[in-house]
Symmetry: C2
C-alpha cells in the first residue's frame, strides 16, 4: 500500500507547552542574568516564563516521548510490511483513524481495539522504550542542536548583511 510506513504529517506527534500567563517582569535589557528566582534559587539562568509547574526540559522530553512513539510506529510498520502483511494492514488502517500526536493516547486506544491490536501496541511500546534507551544518540542530538543554532544565527546575519550591501550599492 502506498502509505505503508510513511505517516502523514498530521500524524506526527506534537506536544508543546501550554503557556499560563506569568506576571513576573524583568526590568533589564539587555538581559541581566538573575541571581535568584522563585523556582530556581541562586541560579544564574535566564528566566523562562509560561511553563507553569513544569520546565522547558520537561516539555521537550514530553515532545521527544511522542517523537519516540512515532519512530517506534515507523520501525514496527517497516518490520511488519513483508513479514506480516495482515498486521501491517491493521496498523496502517488504525493509523488512518487515530492521531499520533499523543503517543500514549494512541497506544491506549490501540490496546483496547482488539487482541491483535493489543499485541501491536505492546510491540510499539517495547520498541519506543528500547529505542530511546539504546538507539537514540543523545550526545548527537545535543551536538547537532548546538551546531544548528550557531550556524543558523551566522547564516541569518550573513544573508541580511549581503542583502543590505547589495541594496546600498544600487
Amino acid at each position: 500500500m502506498e502509505f505503508s510506513a510513511t505517516l502523514p504529517l498530521s500524524q506526527l506527534p506534537y506536544v508543546y507547552p501550554e503557556t499560563p500567563r506569568s506576571n513576573k517582569v524583568y526590568p533589564f535589557w539587555p538581559c541581566k542574568r538573575r541571581s535568584s528566582q522563585p523556582t530556581r534559587l541562586h541560579c544564574n539562568k535566564m528566566y523562562v516564563p509560561g511553563f507553569g509547574e513544569a520546565s522547558p526540559e520537561a516539555k521537550a522530553a514530553k515532545n521527544l516521548h511522542n517523537f519516540f512513539t512515532y519512530v517506534a510506529v515507523k520501525i514496527v510498520a517497516a518490520q511488519l510490511e513483508s513479514y506480516n502483511p495482515e498486521a501491517y494492514e491493521e496498523l496502517i488502517e488504525f493509523l488512518g483513524r487515530h492521531s499520533l500526536n499523543d503517543g500514549d493516547k494512541f497506544c491506549a486506544t490501540m490496546f483496547r481495539e482488539s487482541s491483535r491490536h493489543k499485541n501491536l501496541a505492546l510491540r510499539i511500546m517495547e520498541v519506543r522504550s528500547a529505542y530511546c534507551k539504546n538507539d537514540f544518540e543523545w550526545d548527537n542530538l545535543k551536538r547537532l542542536a548546538l551546531k544548528m543554532v550557531t550556524e543558523s544565527n551566522t547564516r541569518l546575519m550573513t544573508e541580511y548583511v549581503l542583502e543590505t550591501s547589495i541594496e546600498s550599492e544600487k
Copy 2:
C-alpha cells in the same frame, strides 16, 4: 496586554520529518536487530525508515532548535514587558502576524521588518544561542524522557489490566 508573554499554541514551533517512502523491508518479527545497514554499517540499531538522508537525531535537533527560538521569544518578551513596553508591543504585534513554527524564518522576517525589529531579532537569536548552550539542561532532558517512557508503558499496561480485571469480575 492580555496575550503578552503568552504565545498561542498555534505559534508553537513544530517541525518533524517528512517521511519519504522507503522500500526497505525487514522480515523479522519480533524485531531482529540488524547487523548491517546501508547507512549505519555494522551497527546493532533498529532500522528507522522514512528519514531520508537525515536521522531521527537531526530531526529532533531541528525541532529543538525551533523550540529554543520559541523559548527565546518568551524570555525576551518577559524581559521587555516592563522595561521597554514599546518594543514589547512591537514584538507581540509581530507575533500576531508571523508564525513561530519555523524559528529561522521568523527571525529572518523580523530582521527585515524595521531597524527596531532587527534589534529584536538579534536579541532573540542571541538568547536562543545562550539558552541552548548554557541554560538548557541536556542531561535532565534525557533523564526525564527515559523516565517518561518507562512510566508511561507501565501505566498503560496497568490501566489495561485493571480494566480487564474489573470487566472479568462482573
